[in-house]
């Protein structure tokens, strides 16, 4: 699909344009003063908060572009579409060439859409933020650009660039607008990611040096034979970074802290799309570029995945902080991604990719709901809450819905992904999948128990003052998320077809090397 | 036994070490400078030894080198003493073990 127009670049950099706008236009502060001085009548009605409207407009624009791309994406052609590329660094003599190359294929398209969508959600859920709004929304948009960049980069260096770029807004967003032990959490998030990036960069560079290019489309494992590092080591290096991001046990402990202390929008985006970068990276980079090593590592991946699923779920049950509980549940859910990938088949991998998308929506929604509840109760401690559904029934509906989606209820998105992973992976990873089934039960246990303790039970007078969902932004978010989750739950083809297209070439590569290996050995 | 290059080199090395030790262990900044001077002299001695026992062009360049070193040493001492003076004005001491405002 070539629209003859750098639509992808526009998509990626539109949020930055928004940042520029926000930076240049006056924020609320000046505006109010101006109004008070010049138009006293307006002052009482509240000033217009420019930054958030700009942020909303820009993120909606991005969403529309993403949606249009999603629609006109040619589902009959595999490979990358909307490709924008030109040489960016060409140092021929030293062999350091970086191409500005962006493109989407079936795998990344849904994730791009997810990112654009969740950013809108993030902006809307932040509607009532009144601390330094200008910076807040600017950083939120920077975050969007960086995540979009990760999902669309076709060059390892650019992938890494955007991967790292995301740290800056995340650090500031968590540590300025967060709660609790936010400085610690923000720093922990950054340090964990950078630690992973250390290995990832080494792996990327080793790949790039051996293949003499950083272009994802051109690097193939044959070229890596000449690398200074053995391919399995490169694989392991890069896997460390993705494992931290995903995250898998035992590299997960940054996640609960970051999630818990982050502002709602950041939790949403963190859980919704940032974690997906890990899974996306595993599929896009590890298995595309190193199918042979990947095929050898399947059992290890499956075991790591299962440990994450079961251990994560068990630890989740003991959490006393609602956000932390959901954060831990992400650990468990993302384990499914590894499990699906380890199947090495189209079904399992599609399931894994689907899990990325659905988990993004579901956990995003869970965090939205918890965030909205937190905005009202100002506590996240499960023990402090009781019977909230009496006073905030609409949020209760949202929360229960999201929780049910999270435990993999059919007709909601999560079920499709999990069942596809199970069906796809059982043949090749029988024992891990059998154990992983426990995760389904445990998920039900922690979610239902949490719901029981927070929303159900007798009325508690101390919550009687709580306002229910009452703002259009809240209805929009909840409604849109519900609609998408149901849509993907009952008609998953809309995304699954794309993902299938995306993973098919990967699986072909794997099958080719596996059969070659079998033939040769 | 013929007094050869090695003798001078050994002498230079010993002098260098003594100078280094002085520079490392004296309390007084001037004492440290004295040590440095000894080190530089050791270098000079080594160079002149090479000049005596080396090829013609070596002989020349080493001697030129020594001239430069001597000049630079003088300049360094001058600046060093000036700085020591400034330190003295500020702190009433030029003991290096007491000028430790900056540390850690």
């Amino acid at each position: 699909m070539d629209p003859g127009f750098p639509v992808l670049s526009l998509l990626i950099f539109l949020p930055l344009l928004g940042v520029l706008l926000i930076a240049l236009l006056p924020g609320r502060h000046t505006r109010t003063e101006w109004l008070v001085q010049n138009a006293p009548g307006y002052a009482t009605r509240g000033a217009v908060d420019y930054p958030k409207w700009i942020a909303l407009g820009i993120s909606l624009g991005t969403l529309i572009i993403a949606l249009v791309m999603f629609i006109i994406f040619d589902r009959s052609v595999s490979g990358f579409q909307f490709v924008d590329e030109f040489d960016w660094i060409s140092a021929e003599a030293v062999g350091f060439n970086v191409t500005y190359a962006f493109g989407v294929d079936g795998l990344s398209m849904p994730l791009v859409f997810l990112t654009a969508f969740l950013t809108v959600v993030g902006v809307l859920v932040s509607w009532r933020i009144d601390l330094r709004t200008k910076e807040y929304f600017a950083w939120l948009l920077v975050l969007e650009t960086s995540v979009l960049g990760v999902f669309t980069s076709l060059d390892l260096i650019f992938f890494f660039l955007f991967w790292e770029l995301e740290l800056i807004p995340m650090f500031l967003l968590i540590s300025i607008w967060g709660s609790g032990n936010r400085n610690y959490s923000a720093l922990k998030f950054v340090l964990y990611t950078v630690f992973g990036s250390a290995f990832m960069l080494a792996g990327f560079l080793a790949m790039g040096v051996a293949a003499d290019t950083f272009d994802i489309r051109e690097i193939r494992q044959d070229a890596l034979a000449a690398a200074f590092l053995p391919a399995p080591v490169i694989f392991a290096f890069i896997l460390i970074a993705f494992s931290i991001k995903l995250p898998v046990v035992p590299l997960h402990t940054w996640l609960p802290d970051a999630h818990t202390d982050a502002p709602t929008a950041v939790s949403v985006i963190l859980a919704g799309v940032l974690l997906k970068m890990g899974g996306y990276g595993i599929l896009r980079l590890l298995f595309t570029l190193m199918p042979e090593v990947g095929a050898d590592a399947d059992l290890a991946l499956a075991i790591i995945g299962v440990v994450s699923i079961v251990y994560g779920a068990i630890v989740t049950i003991r959490q006393t902080d609602l956000k932390r509980l959901i954060a831990y549940s992400s650990v468990s859910h993302m384990g499914f991604v590894l499990l699906g990938v380890s199947a090495l088949g189209v079904t399992g991998m599609s399931g894994a990719a689907m899990q990325l998308v659905t988990h993004g929506l579901i956990t995003g929604m869970l965090f939205v709901m918890v965030g909205l509840v937190y905005d009202r109760t100002h506590t996240r401690q499960i023990a402090d809450m009781r019977g909230l559904a009496h006073y905030i029934p609409l949020l209760g509906i949202g929360m229960v819905f999201a929780g049910l989606a999270g435990l993999g209820l059919p007709a909601l998105a999560g079920f499709v992904a999990e069942i596809t992973i199970f069906l796809g992976a059982f043949g090749s990873q029988t024992a891990p999948v059998s154990v992983a089934l426990l995760g389904v039960l445990l998920a039900a246990a922690y979610i239902l128990w949490a719901l029981q303790r927070t929303f159900f039970g007798p009325k508690d007078e101390k919550w009687s003052h709580l306002p229910d969902a009452n703002h259009w932004s809240e209805f929009t978010i909840i409604g849109a998320l519900m609609a998408l989750i149901v849509l993907l739950g009952v008609y998953p083809s809309i995304v699954m077809d794309l993902l299938e297209m995306g993973v098919e070439p990967i699986v072909h590569e794997i099958e080719a090397v596996v059969s070659a290996g079998a033939g040769g050995g | 036994m013929i007094i050869g290059l090695e003798h001078y080199l050994v002498l230079g090395a010993l002098l260098f070490c003594i100078g280094f030790f002085i520079a490392l262990s004296k309390k007084n900044a001037v004492g440290v400078l004295i040590g440095v001077e000894l080190m530089l002299n050791a270098v000079n001695l080594t160079l002149i030894a090479f000049s005596r026992f080396g090829a013609t062009e070596v002989a020349l360049s080493t001697q030129v080198f020594v001239v430069f070193i001597i000049a630079v040493a003088a300049a360094e001492v001058a600046v060093g003493l000036a700085l020591a003076l400034v330190v003295y004005r500020n702190r009433q001491t030029i003991s290096v073990d007491r000028t430790t405002l900056l540390k850690g």
């Binding site: - | 007094i3 290059l5 090695e6 003798h7 001078y8 080199l9 050994v10 002498l11 090395a13 010993l14 002098l15 260098f16 070490c17 003594i18 280094f20 030790f21 002085i22 490392l24 262990s25 004296k26 309390k27 007084n28 001037v30 004492g31 004295i34 000894l38 002299n41 000079n44 001695l45 000049s51 005596r52 080396g54 090829a55 020349l60 360049s61 001697q63 030129v64 430069f68 001597i70 000049a71 630079v72 040493a73 003088a74 001492v77 001058a78 600046v79 003493l81 000036a82 003076l85 003295y88 004005r89 500020n90 702190r91 009433q92 001491t93 003991s95 073990d97 405002l101 900056l102 540390k103």
Partner: protein, 206 residues
Amino acid sequence: MSDFGFHLAFWSLAAMTLGGASMIIISRNLIHAVIWLVMSMLGIAGLYLTLSADFIAVVQVLIYVGAISVLMLFAIMLTPRAERDNSQNIKTGGPAALVVLLVMISTLWVAIDTDWGAVREAALTDQARLIGESLIKHYILPFEIGAVLLTAALVGAIALARQDDEDAAVHAASLQAELDGEGSVDPVNVVDPPIAAEAPDSEAAS
């Protein structure tokens, strides 16, 4: 030069050089230390003579013995008696000995063990002229730069040693702080000195 005479000259000069240097270590008085330094320098100058480097020997005597030592003595004289102590810094003595031992082992090993290549018997003649020629021909650039270096050092030393108007306040503050026993724990309290009052004619524009 007779073999014996040469031997005698070398060993006695060597003893003088090293002995003088060693006395600096032992000497507790800074002025004595400078005197010992002079003796060591003179020994080196003599050694230069044994190496047929007449010109350099002369320069050595002139600059080191004549200039640098005197400079040092002046500096010492300018500071009160209490500062003429040349004792060891006990805290660094031990590690210093260790490091110097290592350096000694390595330098001596290198000096003795290395094959230094061809050894020429004849000494260079007409050194002063040759060096002079070399300086203005081959090494003209270092020579010029050396001149700049000396100028810079001179100017800098003056700038440092001269007490300008603005320095008085700085030094007074320093001494006060010194008396108060301030600030040696953590160098965060480093603060730029205050901006001196501007002369009205110089900064009129600003």
